[in-house]
Amino acid sequence: MKRKLSIDQHVIQFCRFLRENGFAVGPTEEVDVLNALATIDWSQSQYFKEVLRTVLVKNISQYHLFDELYTKYWRELKRAEDSKLKDSQERDKQSKAKQQAPSIEVIKNWLHGNPQDEIKEVAQYSPGVAKGKADLSAFAEEESREWSSVVRMLKKQLENQPNRRSIHNKKPGKISLRPLVRHNMRKGGELLDLYFKHPKKQKLKLVLLCDVSKSMDLYARFIIQMMYAFQNSGLQIETFVFSTSLYRATRLLKSHSLKKALNALSDHIEEWGSGTRIGDCLWEFVDRYGRSLLDRKTYVFIMSDGWDNGNAEVMEKAMKKIKGNSKKVIWLNPLASSANFAPEVQGLQAALPYIDALLPATNIKDLKYIL
């Protein structure tokens, strides 16, 4: 980062910084900011910030993120001015490496070509090593195609659900009397335009809520692969991960490469592999995003084993709300593939009345079975 910049260089630099953080900011926005700055006295920092916010922020998640990024930008700039940027970056890197939850680090190693270490690490965490290995070993780069085809099949199947609504157009099909009469009445009753009826395609919306707590460590690879495949399938989907708190991971997963997505996930999600408070996290989802993301066209997928340290009442209330505001709630449970499985854990017990389907999910074959 340069030490001294002019105002337009700052704007361009800041826009680049926002782009790196997932903002869709291009030359048009840069020009808009410069034009906007010409209409105010930008020497006053609060006006400068307000202008940048008004022009560059385009949605609510960016709105909430903007303050943090703005502060970070100036802090980094100050560090550069103090000629300490390099040192501090190294320090940051080291401390981050220390803080990093081991499971995701392991998966990163594996993804970058070191699968042996991963198996060792997994072995440290769970007595169910054999099962873990079986679930995880099938995961490889070449599986991407298989994943894409599974998600495509799922998309097709969900879209073809019976729909009461129909669209009317001039494409030949079953004749549609109402629009035929209505449109031709305007033309004196002569049947000049024919109208046909076609079933309206469902506008699919999906919300994926994935548990990344310690008890789900064994299935981390499966979860990441699933989240990535869903997010990049062209579906209208929002992805969240949770353990003791909720994190909206949609923008982190929108990457052309799984490696990049994984790096972004590990950089931003600090609570990977910690405890679980499913109820609180689901309520946080309902409270913060429910109104905007849930409607009667939305399928909600929850991927969790149901182990919950939180309050069962909160869990029940959150699930009731999710169920009431969505089309279907599908709970994917990695433990459900076991023959002795019974939904006895507290979290799952509370959620059970509000689930449309409780399905096993430990590998891609299970997902195919769902279809």
Binding site: A24, A36, Y47
Partner: protein
């Protein structure tokens, strides 16, 4: 200095119209006017998104043209329609006239038979109007795409007449409750403003401004109560509209402070969900404690 004047003017004008603004609202309005870009306002229900457009029209002393969006709205309902019945009657009257077919056609497809809908109307006003496209998130994506085209070109092509260019570019305000996510393309064409529930001080100002007959202590108590209420896990979080309804009701009944029985009997003005009502009534004592602490701190 001129910009300061512009911002102060906007703030003063908003205040004059009874709208308590803040720095980001004033800046968004100023930039929307200066850059001639549409302003997209998002936020929970009842925080005054639509009100901004109404106030802006008053500030600019111009006409407010409102397009209320809903599922299934299409271009003709927003733009224009031919008045077929009127055209047919006119055609009957023309039957005995000796005019040529071309002349008759020309008469039939003239502006006389054109029913202007809000978008066309906004483009044809002599003075720039304020065009409020309310709850755009309720409209279908196809309509959003159509709107995008109009917002970029400021012209409309009517096949029978030709292209109608805007005589004045309206000040466009779009509001959304985030029922569905709007497209990136539409967002990129707009400036963005998010209005959240007001802070305690702002809410007190709003109450005293809109309900002048209320005493200041009660206004502060009501605002503190609402702030604490919004922190609870409610099915339907009350907005500013509910605060004002409650304040008006209590002022009408000449109350000067809140007490438990009064809140219990009037809570229905604020909360519109049975579970919320029951849960709030159960934790009223706790809520009152929090309100007391808040009032001491603020």
């Amino acid at each position: 200095m001129q910009h300061k004047k512009a911002l102060a003017e906007i703030n003063a004008a908003l205040l004059e119209q009874g709208y308590i603004s803040d720095a980001s609202i004033a800046m968004a309005i100023h930039l929307s006017r200066a850059l001639k870009k549409p302003l997209l306002i998002e936020g929970p229900a009842g925080v005054g998104k639509t009100e901004i457009a109404k106030v802006m029209a008053k500030v600019m002393t111009t006409q407010l043209i409102r397009l209320q969006c809903y599922e299934g709205i299409d271009a003709p309902q927003a733009l224009y329609e031919w008045n077929y019945q009127h055209q047919l009657l006119h055609l009957k009257m023309l039957e005995n006239e000796s005019a040529s077919i071309e002349q008759k056609e020309q008469q039939l497809f003239s502006e006389k038979f054109l029913q202007k809908r809000p978008l066309l109307e906004a483009l044809q006003t002599a003075q720039p109007s304020v065009l409020l496209i309310d709850e755009i998130d309720r409209a279908d994506e196809e309509f959003e795409s159509f709107l995008l085209e109009m917002l970029s070109d400021w012209q409309i092509t009517i096949p029978e007449i030709g292209t109608i260019e805007a005589t004045s570019i309206p000040q466009v305000i779009l509001t959304s409750n985030r029922v569905r996510e709007l497209s990136e393309a539409l967002r990129r064409r707009c400036l963005y403003l998010y209005i959240d529930y007001p802070t305690f001080d702002k809410e007190v100002d709003i109450v005293t401004q809109k309900v002048p007959e209320i005493n200041e202590f009660l206004a502060r108590e009501i605002s503190a109560f609402m702030q604490e209420l919004r922190k609870m896990r409610l099915e339907k979080v009350p907005g500013v509209a509910e605060t004002l309804d409650w304040a008006t009701a209590l002022a009408e009944m000449h109350f000067d402070h809140l007490d438990k029985s009064l809140v219990e009997s009037t809570l229905g003005v604020v909360l519109k969900d049975w579970d919320d009502l029951r849960n709030t009534q159960d934790s009223l004592s706790e809520l009152f404690e929090k309100v007391k602490v808040k009032l001491r701190v603020e």
